[in-house]
Amino acid sequence: MPYALCFLLFMIGLYCAVVKKNMVKIVIGIMVMEYAVNLFLIMLGYRFGGVAPIIDKGQLEAGMEQFISSSVDPLPQALVLTAIVISLGSLALMISICIRTYEKYGTFDITQIRRLKG
């Protein structure tokens, strides 16, 4: 069920990116989709009663077996960390394209930006 809510969030972002006319709204839709995918990947690695994948002193003294059987999945966390930072870079690129288009055409409305020649 949490997976379905996450998928609903993704679909809201897709609707925003497809239907809206404002360029910044399209960027916001793409951001919402990124959040949904990141949340979904982290949820896949979660287990009930799990601990964060950080070994502290008490766990070392109690033995590694207990940590291995109770830690959440560290691999999606490492990859999502990369994805979050890259999403910031792509956001900066998209917003700079929006600002430049606004300077040239004076609007964010994509139906009025018709003079797209090479």
């Binding site: 949490p2 239907v19 960027v27 916001i28 690695g45 691999l75 966390q77």
Partner: protein
Amino acid sequence: MTIIFYILLLFIIIAAIIAVETRYLLSAVICVGAIGFGASLMFLFLRAPDIAITQIVVEVLGLIILIRACLSRELTFISGDREFFAVVVSAVIIFAIFLAGIKVLDTLPDFGTAIFAEVPDTASQTYIGEGLEKTGAANIVASVILDFRAYDTLGEATVLFTSIIGATVILRKKSKKLLEDPE
């Protein structure tokens, strides 16, 4: 415990709907901030503190970039969608994809079961079991991104660098002048 996840997810979804449907760009950007901080709390409860910290930092920077895009612009409240027929067709198609995707989600194990622990010899189990001995890092996520999969991090740095170069080139004033009068 699961009720927290439902509350946070509903909060995120409501914020997303407001961000999509509001007329004013600044309100939409602030709602994106609400989505991001809700997601950060959710990461914290999903036992991923590294991602929660990174999400907060990235969220603040992203909000600054987005607000920069819509401050001091006129016409920031363009309302209205595309033609009615196109909106209805897209909504129907997206709803159909949603229904099909719900069926796919049924094949996954329930939320909260450790998928990686049930398959023998997954990479995650190796990282958890031998990460401390092999890399000496107490934080397994740090040992994965900086040692086991360091090339991923190198690629991430390359992509970030490339995108920043692209943004700088697009925003530069000089190139426009050169295009207009070549001498």
